[in-house]
């Protein structure tokens, strides 16, 4: 028998989904996600999600990038190849700003893109939720909650019953490998 991935339930609309997200959070569920065709304002708060650490990852890489840019130019112009260029001093920090700034942005932007992909566990080609035919509606007019089997409170029967009690419909158990 295949491994259980989680339980999927459909909700009526964005408001119902928002409410369900909040109720699950208050009930103590942690490993669950809400799926909707468009972003719903206030969902992060309702689910009690923490801020993504991406900002700090970006800052770290941006600073490293800036230091690399500044260091490279200082080393080239002041230490290894001290040439007089248009009468400027060897350590002409003003002229280093542009490349320093550019590498600051480049490293930061790279960290933003790849950090985002990494935190989202991408790239991946398949997800057990895609076994559900009903779930295809999520890109059109479907609003779903998925509770993962890994959640501490997860129990096939009681979780399904709870989802039903808060307005979930078409409850199905999703099987498949992560």
């Amino acid at each position: 028998m295949a491994q259980i991935h989680g339980i999927l339930a459909e909700f009526d609309g964005p408001a119902a989904l928002l409410k369900a997200g909040k109720q699950l959070n208050e009930k103590g569920y942690r490993k669950y996600d809400c799926h909707s065709p468009f972003p719903i304002h206030g969902m992060d708060d309702a689910m009690g999600l923490k801020r993504s650490p991406l900002g700090f990852i970006i800052a770290l890489f941006a600073i490293i990038g800036g230091l690399v840019g500044l260091g490279l130019q200082t080393w080239v112009h002041s230490i290894e190849y001290p040439l007089v260029i248009s009468g400027k001093p060897f350590f002409a920090w003003q002229s280093y700003i542009i490349v320093t700034f550019a590498l600051f942005i480049l490293f930061g932007a790279g960290a933003a893109v790849f950090g985002m992909l990494g935190l989202n566990k991408l790239p991946r080609y398949h997800h057990p939720l895609f076994y559900s035919d009903r779930f295809k509606k999520v890109t059109d007019d479907g609003f779903f909650v998925n509770i993962a089997a890994g959640d501490a409170l997860f129990d096939k029967k009681s979780t399904a019953a709870y989802l039903k009690s808060i307005g979930g419909k078409n409850i199905e158990v999703i099987e498949g490998e992560e």
Binding site: G55, A59, S86, G87, I98
Partner: protein, 391 residues
């Protein structure tokens, strides 16, 4: 102040207008005394203060037009504040008149003797001359007056129940072009021509970037006041401060970017007629002012507001809004005063007197314009979205 909770009309004016008017009149009266004791210092102090307060009006005009031309929804609840600042701008022509009287004291290009000894300056006299200066300035004020009048008119019609959002957008689109040209040339005429041999094509952008940061700071302070006093307690939400904070932070960086770009190209080319302007701002105690500006107007607020939570904290935002208005004044001082005091910064009591003189009148007019109509656009189709704003 007291506000009707349905129509948002002001029932009771409160005392802000009166207090501001008294401060303004006292400040201007004191400045007038200064005019007789030290007229050169008076005109330079006056120009500094005028540049500061005019930038708030210009920033208000820009913010209002940006609101309409971009179809922004979030700022609908606060747009009447920037509209009021915008409405003061054409009235500031009256406050501009002393500068016309001070042309001889302020601007080297107005002296026939300087022109006789300086061929380059004489070559510029086709643009830089007294009648030209006055004509240009009158044109700027007329342009700003027409824009402010049209926007106010259509915005008022909204209150009467007409949907004028399209007309407001049609005025604001071309208005942006008129604004960009007029603020650039106003900055060239009023501030850049203090050193008539020097030029920087980005100078208008520099003045604009400071203006926009200043109006955002002004909006943060006003919104905070209106929320705190209960006038717009529920209408202005936490999310408005978050959005204002983000714009404020972004345009602080924009200011530094423009200022840095201006410095960088002049430093790179190293042409004496261009570098002299920065030399005047790097001699003696001016160096301290320059460094203070980099830290106070950019680095310290940048590092403080870069975090998610600090941009959204009303207290921290309010602190930096006041902070930035102080540094915006220092920025204006840094643009104007080195022309008068070479070698070292020289503080004068007239700087304070003219600041409060013009400022009092500005706030009085601002307050007067603000309470003259409903303090939020009650029939604006975007108001609902703004009142339910989430960040």
């Amino acid at each position: 102040m007291k506000v009707d909770s349905k129509t948002y009309l002001v029932n009771e004016k409160g005392s802000i207008g009166k207090i501001a008017l008294i401060i303004g009149i006292l400040g201007l009266a004191l400045s007038l005394v200064g005019h007789f004791t030290n007229s050169k210092q008076f005109y330079f102090s006056y120009l500094t203060s005028f540049a500061f307060w005019a930038s708030l009006g210009l920033g208000g005009l820009f913010f209002t037009m940006l609101h309409y031309v971009s179809g922004a929804k979030w700022s609908t609840a606060i747009v009447r504040i920037s509209q009021a600042a915008m409405s003061v701008l054409p009235l500031m022509f009256v406050l501009f008149i002393p500068i016309i009287f001070g042309i001889k004291e302020l601007y080297e290009w107005s002296s026939a003797e300087a022109l006789a000894h300086n061929a380059v300056l004489a070559g510029k006299s086709g643009y830089l001359n007294v009648s030209g200066f006055v004509t240009h300035s009158v044109i700027y004020f007329i342009a700003w007056g027409v824009l402010a009048y049209l926007i106010n008119m259509y915005s008022r019609r909204q209150d009467d129940g007409k949907d004028t959002i399209k007309q407001l957008r049609i005025v604001s689109g071309p208005g942006m072009f008129v604004f960009a040209m007029s603020i650039s040339f106003a900055a060239f005429d009023w501030l850049m021509s203090l050193d008539p041999m020097w030029y920087s094509t980005i100078f208008g952008g520099y003045y604009f970037s400071g203006s926009f940061v200043a109006i955002l700071a002004f909006l943060i302070i006003s919104a905070n006041y209106l929320k705190k006093t209960g006038a717009l307690e529920n209408e202005i939400r936490q999310a408005h401060f978050a959005d204002l904070g983000k714009l404020f932070f972004g345009f602080l960086v924009f200011w530094a970017y423009i200022g840095g770009a201006q410095y960088f190209f002049i430093w790179y080319a190293n042409i004496p007629e261009e570098t002299i302007w920065f030399l005047h701002r790097w001699e003696g105690s001016w160096k301290t002012v320059s460094v203070l500006l980099i830290f106070g107007h950019f680095l310290i607020p940048f590092v403080s507001l870069v975090f998610y939570n600090t941009k959204r904290s009303r207290k921290i935002l309010l602190f930096f809004a006041i902070w930035i208005l102080i540094f915006h004044y220092i920025d204006m001082y840094w643009l104007v005063a080195p022309t008068l005091h070479h070698g070292s910064a020289h503080f004068s009591w007239l700087d304070i007197a003219t600041f409060f003189g013009i400022g009092g009148i500005f706030i009085y007019l601002f307050w007067n314009r603000f309470i003259a109509k409903a303090i939020v656009p009650v029939n604006d189709p975007n108001l609902d979205a703004s009142l339910n704003l989430h960040s």
